[in-house]
């Protein structure tokens, strides 16, 4: 009997470097999060709820859904994340909900990885490579945006005053990690952040 299949995180090799950051900026890789992309014409979704959450209709927003998040990606497109559900189970659950209304769902769990960015200087670090208005009064908790960070396309979620999630294509994860570490360098030592 073979042993359980091991999972490998694309950013495993970066974790030590993340750990060395202190205070002003924190970077961490969220472990394996299942994700599925949902497609359905708005007209057809009506009062459809995903894990108790209505599909966000306001662009650039996200809402908590079960153990994960339900993120607006387009007028007929959303992303559901769930750390606690197996990828294939998540797709099946959503197919069951969406097919009746002419929608669809696809498992994209490994398509992107999720980074956590936090700390008082987190917005500063993002502002070095992100052109959207990150002012705390504008990009508030519950906001999300699909934009570019450095040269990587990302889905950026505001979780809290100075807490963010960054979803990025797995093949770009290494690039984005190096970029974030480089952009954080001047904040690396709390003594130098003033």
């Amino acid at each position: 009997m073979a042993d359980q299949l091991a999972r490998t995180h694309p950013l495993e090799a970066w974790l030590p470097a993340f750990a060395e950051l202190t205070g002003a900026v924190r970077i961490d890789a969220e472990p394996f999060v299942s994700m599925a992309v949902l497609r359905a014409a708005r007209a057809t979704t009506g009062d459809l709820r995903i894990r108790g959450t209505a599909l966000p209709t306001a662009p650039n927003t996200w809402a908590p859904a079960g153990d994960g998040r339900l993120i607006w990606l387009g007028p007929d497109e959303w992303l559901l994340t769930s750390p606690g559900t197996a990828p294939e189970a998540l797709e099946e659950e959503l197919q069951t909900l969406l097919r009746p209304v002419g929608g669809s769902a696809a498992d994209v769990s490994a398509q992107r990885i999720s980074l956590r960015l936090g700390g008082p200087q987190a917005r500063q670090v993002l502002a070095k490579g992100c052109s959207i208005d990150l002012h705390p009064r504008v990009f508030t908790a519950g906001q999300s945006t699909q934009t570019a960070l450095g040269q990587a396309a990302v889905v950026l979620l505001a979780l809290d005053e100075d807490e963010f999630a960054v979803l990025v294509r797995s093949s770009f994860a290494g690039y984005l990690a190096s970029w974030l570490l480089d952009a954080s360098l001047e904040h690396a030592d709390p003594a130098l952040t003033s």
Partner: protein, 956 residues
């Protein structure tokens, strides 16, 4: 060297600290707060450069960016070419020398860091002089999001250069209070040492912040040396001040000749007397301040030479009281001296005629010809400029949405007026934004402005020396003179753009900050037309020069362009793979063993795949999930062949063309369900194909019920290839009957491995028995290692893209983008079988019917076998007709086509190639020539399929 010209007190330098720097090999002292220019002047050094064309000595001519001549080369701490001594902040250990025309680049890479920062504001104020500070305070007090950027080391602008008083105290006090108040506003970003160098659409302003330059060698390495601020402002208030303008006269370029306002700045801001004996030459009142201030500082002022017939009675009275002679209706008609001016030739000017001159000894000549508002940003916003006859200057000539020009940048020259105008500009911006201004913003009271005597617009003093203006310099940096302008006019040139190019005036480092308007004025005189008609040449960004590296920012070295890798990258690295760049991807090209070169490694990898088993990381292949009731309809329209007839559980190869009928991509299609497909695209085509499909679905066929999603990174893909692949796959996935009967070619099966879903597909890109393994990339390493482990007995061999290419080429499978170049149809590739005759239409079909597509001489994909069985034809080689005498005729030699792929074949035991050849299929069996180096290599034209043409091996 001692600072004999440093005043005993005053100025904003830190006299408690002395720093040392080296200029032209000589050591000088200076203070923090000095610029290189002020420190040199404090030591009596004026001459610092020699001119580009004539090699004439040139000195420091102004106190900031408008200086056209004080150019230096920095050597330490790091070489930087062509900076103005007047803008280089002094630091200990600075090593520089005067510039002989051209700057010198370092021959070692720059290790400094650079970055960028985006910021969004309601109001951006450019310039922290009186108008800018008033504007910033007005906007800040209203609670707006404000950015205030200023190019100097500290705020204040002209207030730090003079003796102005506000609220009855030195103006510096008000500046300090204003800066402190701004710092207390949470929504205000205040940046000094920050130059707004470009203004673009929708309030987008780029500003360069010099963050650590002034620290010299002490600059922290981990901080960006310079930062480009990308400011998106809803309203922009331009308070960039004005540049003083000289008057052109013979020998006006000698060191010691400088702008009067500059001399005043050196005195008040840096505590430096620019000389011991001054002559002041002016056409307006402002230079009188310089004369009086320098006089009070102990400089002997030989005379104020005022070109105006009546001069300025009021200011003249002050001079007389101070014992400074004033000569009205007079001009400086020439100078004498060498590396430093020794005398000014002063003569009366009447009716444009210069009278007899007499010499006034001096070591500095301070000149003022009036003021040019710094309208660069306004002009960059394509604002129209209007010429003001009274000021002799170009002013903003229209209102622009979202942009207000205030203070002396708008032509106002009195302090109270500038303060009020700054407040006005900001209030207007707030109103436009619907932000209520704070209750009346009180401005400090400035002394009642004395109404100045009208200025005289004088561009140049006629050259009475007989030199015809050949030493009357208009652009000191380009050594361009009045004589050059006269020649341009004489040559028939009328447009300032032509004149600028003919004389090179305004094209130097300062981009004509002082010379531009002079050239327009003098040219207008020469042509006898109004200055408004000659106009200016266009102001182009950047306002001041910006280092390349600052604009490159963080996109350097490994961050220059993203490096995309698969989930197995670390495994490949550990296995010693040599990588190939495919788009942004890093793909293993081959896995050399000790002592192997690429040829040896590839022969080994190929042999393994053909006779045993090999494994490839194919995860970079693009993958698109297509779902919906109309999925098959869409795919029938996009692929040249029929997809709708594909059975669930089966796989089909498909070709995509552009509307022009040329192949753009190819790949396999797996039908997962009646209404669900998985598309595979080429690695390079992944994004392109998804965008292509989305474009058609969204813009042409919105009625189709179909959804597309990229799953490229979701599914890791490993082809397990070779006659022994069945054993390996069977061993790792015992639940799957891998027999040919149960699992035929071009079908797929789902299974699980320790509960993890895995998809297997009988797809072959090599002609051999092969299974493609698809798994969620989380498990890529584990599954790959299982396969490698299980394949050990069969000697499973990881192979890279090179071997993949050889294997597919031996079978005549084209690589889109290598064997095609955007001019190749499926028919040209011999894939008529992949072009549906049944479908009424698909993208590209109509183009196949065009005349050129019927041409029998179209290039077709064929195989080539070098007759000598030795030569590996270089890819890209051209194919020519067989030449009986074995020699090339003189050019032009007709070409039949070119070699698209070429390899050594272990299987064929000889090199072979694929080529696109005119009428190629009709030439099969012929011998043609391929020029390689000096020789003609005979090659036989063959079918593109060289290995297993009957396809006997695919089932093992």
């Amino acid at each position: 060297m001692t600072s004999t010209f440093r005043t005993p007190e005053g100025g904003r330098v830190d006299r408690s600290t002395t720093v040392e720097f080296t200029f032209d090999g000589q050591t000088f002292p200076g203070h923090p707060g000095d610029t290189l220019a002020s420190a040199l002047l404090a030591s009596g050094r004026h001459a610092i450069a020699s001119s580009v064309k004539l090699g004439r000595p040139r000195g420091i001519a102004a106190a900031w960016a408008e200086d056209p001549s004080g150019l230096v080369q920095i050597e330490e701490p790091f070489p930087e070419p062509m900076l103005l001594a007047s803008t280089v902040e002094l630091y200990d250990g600075l090593v520089a020398h005067g510039l002989p025309g051209q700057g010198r680049l370092a021959d070692v890479p720059d290790s400094a860091r650079y970055d960028a920062m985006h910021v969004h504001v309601d109001v951006l104020v450019v310039g922290a002089g009186p108008a800018g500070l008033a504007a910033a305070l007005t906007a800040a007090r209203a609670g707006a999001r404000v950015a205030l950027v200023d190019e100097h080391s500290e705020a204040g602008g002209s207030l730090l250069s003079g003796t102005d008083r506000l609220d009855g105290a030195p103006a510096a006090g008000w500046v300090a209070a204003a800066v402190a108040e701004l710092a207390a506003h949470p929504e205000v970003l205040h940046l000094q040492r920050t130059t707004a160098f470009g203004l673009y659409d929708d309030g987008f302003v780029l500003a360069l912040q010099r963050r650590t330059d002034h620290l010299g060698g002490a600059a922290p390495r981990h901080e960006a040396r310079q930062r480009v601020w990308r400011i998106r402002a809803r309203q922009v208030v331009v308070a960039t001040g004005a540049h003083e303008r000289p008057v052109v006269f013979p020998d006006n370029d000698r060191p010691g000749i400088m702008l009067a306002g500059g001399a005043r700045t050196f005195l008040h801001r840096y505590g430096v007397r620019v000389g011991s004996e001054a002559v002041v030459f002016t056409t307006n009142d402002s230079a009188y301040d310089a004369a009086l201030d320098l006089h009070r500082a102990g400089v002997r002022v030989a005379a104020v030479v005022d070109a105006r017939p009546e001069g300025s009675p009021l200011r003249a009275e002050e001079c007389r009281a101070a014992g400074i002679p004033v000569r009205t209706g007079s001009v400086v008609a020439g100078t004498s001296g060498g590396d430093r001016i020794t005398a000014a030739l002063v003569a009366p000017l009447a009716d444009g005629e210069v009278g007899r001159a007499d010499e006034l000894a001096c070591d500095v000549l301070l000149v003022s010809g009036g003021w040019n508002p710094a309208v660069h940003l306004f002009s960059q916003a394509r604002g129209r400029l209007r010429y003001d006859e009274v000021l002799g200057a170009f002013l903003p000539g229209e209102r622009l949405d979202g942009l207000a020009v205030v203070g002396s940048a708008a032509g106002l020259l009195d302090l109270a007026g500038c303060l009020a105008d700054g407040r006005r500009g900001a209030s207007a911006a707030l109103t436009a934004l619907g932000i209520a201004p704070a209750a009346e913003v009180r401005l400090p009271t400035a002394p009642e402005p004395v109404v100045p005597a009208a200025p005289l617009v004088l561009w140049r003093v006629p050259d009475a020396s007989g030199a015809e203006g050949s030493t009357s310099f208009v652009d000191l940096q380009r050594d361009a003179t009045v004589a050059d302008l006269a020649r341009a006019a004489g040559a028939g040139l009328r447009s300032m753009e032509h004149v600028k190019r003919f004389t090179t005036i305004g094209t130097a480092h300062d981009q004509g900050k002082t010379s531009g308007v002079l050239a327009s004025g003098i040219t207008a005189e020469l042509l006898g037309v109004p200055v408004q008609d000659t106009g200016t040449t266009t102001f182009r960004p950047p306002y001041t020069p910006v280092a390349f590296a600052a604009l490159a920012g963080r996109d350097r070295g490994r961050l220059f362009d993203p490096e995309r890798v698969t989930a197995l990258h670390d495994w490949h690295v550990a296995a010693g793979a040599v990588f190939e760049d495919v788009g942004q991807w890093k793909r293993p090209r081959y896995y050399p063993r000790a002592g192997e070169d690429m040829a040896a490694a590839v022969l080994r990898e190929c042999a393994a795949a053909r006779s045993g088993v090999g494994i490839l990381d194919g995860s970079t292949l693009g993958k698109i999930d297509v779902q919906g009731p109309d999925a098959a309809v869409l795919l029938d329209r996009m692929y040249t062949n029929l997809i709708s007839s594909l059975k669930v559980g089966s796989v089909r190869y498909g070709v995509m063309c552009g509307v022009d009928g040329m192949v753009i991509d190819d790949g396999t299609v797996l039908r997962l369900a009646e209404d669900r497909f998985l598309l595979l695209t080429t690695t390079g085509g992944a994004a392109k194909v998804l965008d292509w499909l989305e474009e058609w679905v969204q813009t042409e066929w919105p009625e189709l019920r179909v959804h597309l999603a990229s799953v490229t990174e979701q599914w890791s893909t490993f082809p397990v290839v070779g006659p022994r692949s069945r054993d390996v796959v069977g061993a790792v996935f015992p639940d799957v009957d891998v027999s040919n009967e149960a699992f035929p070619f071009m079908t797929w099966r789902d299974t699980t491995l320790d509960g993890v879903p895995v998809r297997l597909a009988r797809i072959s890109f090599s002609g051999e028995l092969a299974f493609e393994v698809y798994v969620n990339a989380w498990y890529a390493v584990a599954v790959w290692e299982r396969l490698v482990e299980a394949g050990a007995p069969q000697g499973i061999t990881p192979y890279g893209t090179e071997t993949m290419h050889v294997l597919r080429a031996e079978k005549g499978y084209p690589i889109i983008g290598q064997d095609t170049d955007g001019t190749v149809t499926p028919h040209d590739l011999g894939m008529a079988w992949a072009v549906s005759k049944k479908k009424p239409d698909f993208v590209g079909k109509r183009s196949f019917a065009r005349v050129e597509n019927q041409n029998p001489l179209r290039k077709q994909l064929v195989g080539l076998l070098p007759v000598d069985r030795q030569t590996v034809l270089p890819e890209g080689s051209q194919v020519v007709d067989f030449l009986a005498d074995g020699r090339l005729p003189p050019p032009p030699v007709p070409m039949l086509g070119h070699v698209t792929s070429s390899y050594r074949s272990a299987e064929l035991a000889r090199p072979f190639a694929l080529a696109l050849v005119k009428g190629g299929r009709a030439r099969i069996g012929d011998t043609v020539h391929v020029p390689v180096g000096g020789t003609l290599v005979p090659v036989e034209v063959t079918s593109s399929v060289l290995v297993d043409p009957e396809g006997a091996r695919r089932d093992g």
